[in-house]
Symmetry: C2
Subunit: 434 residues, 2 copies
């Protein structure tokens, strides 16, 4: 059993397979120098269970439960803080979102609703009224009319979570090879004839492992190969005639220190929504967001704008082309931020970095399928960490039971494996994109 990609998904898959069948040889390879050094390390690493899609809820809610249990019951620090998500909504957004909010509440998802007055009281640093501002009118900024707070939401430390899976996997006897780059998948006829040029069209053929370079070199042969290469899926799959079903889009994060401003320090220590700190705040414009990282006395800010931000089919191997753009902060992000939180006036980006979301552009729901002894999983579209445990369990079940089986997520919920495949795909479209 060969698993390609030791990001958070590959780690979760490898652990769950090994956990279910400790006697099985599971070999996990990654091109980076350590596990979780690709887009996992670059992630904002937020989690939420506030989705309208039953599939997203199943995947995220059960993964969050698992992470909470690991930290709270097993006592393993994952850097997890249930600080909550706070959607700051315009009148228009609030009325558009009303049905979704009702749906979520009916499904038992923990939500609190706030009026503008509540917000002014609980978050005095927020500016909610823009009707008199020329600049806001120019930028088409809307006043804030309401807030929605998701309780079972927050942040975690992706490296700690990755290391948790890694240690458990290694303790069970799993093997990891880093600095090991998969250059191609091996396709071979099931019944080789020993003729030059095989496999021919009329031969049934299958994936029989991978060719690698680096710390390991040569052919790694396996009865089953699992590709969980995230944004790099296409690099391995397109050459053998399969679509990797993801496209990468760069996302950037910028840190803003709170150290120089009494006001920002106070904002960072907000406890009026959650005892675990400033909630992850989503502004009504372009899904700009502000995250508090109290232990570093800083905020992280970013934006999930979509149109005119390029898609990349196969990112460069080491993400060297994936650079943050200071002018993106200055000209696109900061002008919005300082309007809603005037305390950020004059703030400049400190650290900045970028990584790729691996989008499934069809429906933004993850996928997992098997074809010709190859299992492919991915398409988490920016919510990979918060769904990694569930998707890992589904891939383990797919490996063991095939597409017609049912996976059991943490907490005992069942999930029909084939719903996440492409042949019989049956997922509910997500309506609440951030």
């Amino acid at each position: 059993m060969l698993v390609v990609g030791a990001g958070i998904l590959g780690l979760s898959i490898s652990y769950h397979i090994k956990e279910h069948a400790p006697s099985k040889d599971v070999f996990l390879v990654d091109r980076f120098a350590a596990v979780a050094q690709g887009n996992t390390a670059r992630s904002n690493a937020m989690f939420r269970n506030t989705f309208t899609s039953r599939d997203n809820v199943a995947l995220a809610d059960s993964s969050i439960d698992y992470y909470l249990e690991v930290q709270n019951e097993l006592g393993i620090d994952l850097g997890l803080k249930k600080c909550g998500y706070l959607w700051l909504m315009s009148e228009r957004q609030a009325s558009k979102g009303e049905a979704n909010i009702r749906k979520l509440k009916n499904c038992g998802i923990e939500l609190r609703e706030y009026t503008r007055e509540d917000l002014q009281r609980l978050l005095p640093a927020l500016r909610s009224e823009f009707s008199a501002s020329d600049e806001a009118r120019l930028m088409d900024l809307e006043s804030i009319a309401a807030g929605i707070f998701g309780e079972k939401c927050g942040r975690l430390d992706p490296t700690k979570l990755a290391n948790y899976y890694k240690e458990r996997f290694l303790a069970l006897g799993g093997k990891i090879a880093v600095n090991t780059n998969v250059t191609s998948l091996i396709v071979e006829p099931r019944q080789p004839l020993g003729i030059e040029g095989e496999p021919f069209t009329w031969q049934e053929s299958n994936v029989a492992g991978a060719k690698v370079e680096g710390a390991f070199h040569g052919e790694l042969r396996a009865k089953k190969t699992i590709v969980a290469a995230g944004a790099w899926n296409n690099e391995l799959l397109e050459p053998i005639g399969l679509d990797g079903h993801v496209k990468a889009k760069k996302r950037q994060l910028f840190t803003l220190t709170a150290k120089k401003s009494e006001e920002l320090e106070r904002l960072l220590r907000t406890r009026t929504f959650s005892s675990e700190g400033f909630p992850f705040a989503i502004l009504p414009k372009n899904a700009c967001f502000v995250k508090g990282v109290e232990e570093n006395r800083e905020f992280w800010v970013g934006c999930d704008d979509d149109f005119n931000r390029p898609f990349i089919n196969v990112p460069d191997a080491n993400l060297e082309d994936c650079k943050p753009e200071p002018e993106y902060f200055e000209r696109s992000l900061y002008p919005i931020l300082r309007q809603y939180f005037p305390a950020f006036e004059g703030s400049r980006a400190g650290q900045m970095w970028a990584g790729y979301y691996a989008y499934n552009t069809l429906d933004s729901i993850p996928f997992a399928f098997e074809e010709n002894d190859l299992i492919v999983a991915g398409g988490q579209s920016g919510s990979g960490i918060m769904k990694a445990d569930a998707l890992g369990r589904i891939v383990e079940a797919l490996y063991r039971l095939g597409e017609d089986g049912d996976a059991t997520l943490h907490g005992g919920r069942g999930y029909r494996i084939r719903n996440l495949g492409f042949k019989n795909r049956s997922v509910e479209r997500e309506e609440w994109v951030i």
Copy 2:
């Protein structure tokens, strides 16, 4: 109104828009030296109405009706021959396909069923029994148990059809610029501020035309831009953050002369299924097919195998990398062909060429959607010519009515436009892939 791509789809779209609104300026551009010189020219140009998906039936059946009317009523030669499709099926395939065949018959699709004995009588050159052959066992070839003949199926001349649309479009005052390569789409803020670096994230922006090089040079500005670039969709769409929703896969055609063999000449002149010649015959192995081109005294053969035939995200501009592989004919195709039609024993490929299918890997059904003043259509997945008229009408209606409208296909059938979009996609998966 700018249309990018003068393949069969771009031509059909341009004609239908102009036909509906003759006063509208419609400018059609293409990078090749003439219209329909990309994958349209390289196509096998077959048509069939035998689909299980109601969407495929609507698109193909109405397009075929239109092409028949153009040739038969308007007297314009499209090289259209209703020679039929003949599926030669193994026992296994016949029993697997039974429900589909019943469904098609119930929908009024003209099908004839043949037993093995019928086939032996009507097509004596066919070898249908393999149980005693070691070679066939080695290649896993199945005996033929039954045949299904689709009547409203056949072949046409893609250049003649393209020229029909072109002439009609020009006669209505449409403009075409060939040798004009679109290098990028122009994205601009709706309300420009005249600041360097626009559009910023907080500005609403739209596609405002395209930058071109070649015979025309500079910016072609348009209120609405339509991309119908087939296999090259991604080249224009990914840079502006949209998925082109296609991946290209090379398909090859090889000609086999009938001139040197009495037996092949006789096979080519088969009239037992249709008065219009040898039916398009699909073998039970890997969807290998044989097409008769009686006027050239030759057959065309090819194969729609899938696994291990690479996907290409953006093909090279002039298809220079798209080469046929003689060894593919010799080692993969010929060995199958000579088993089912021993008359091909010793045949060698004469002409050969290759082109790209532009696959929508999601469901193989075409798509059409609008976003930010840009309309995108494509994803015909190898059946572009047989659906080009209907898809052109749907794009015309999308342009005029938006996604919530209904298109009227030839013959008066309605079609819900948004079913072909991605936001509210609702199409029936096709079960009969060749």
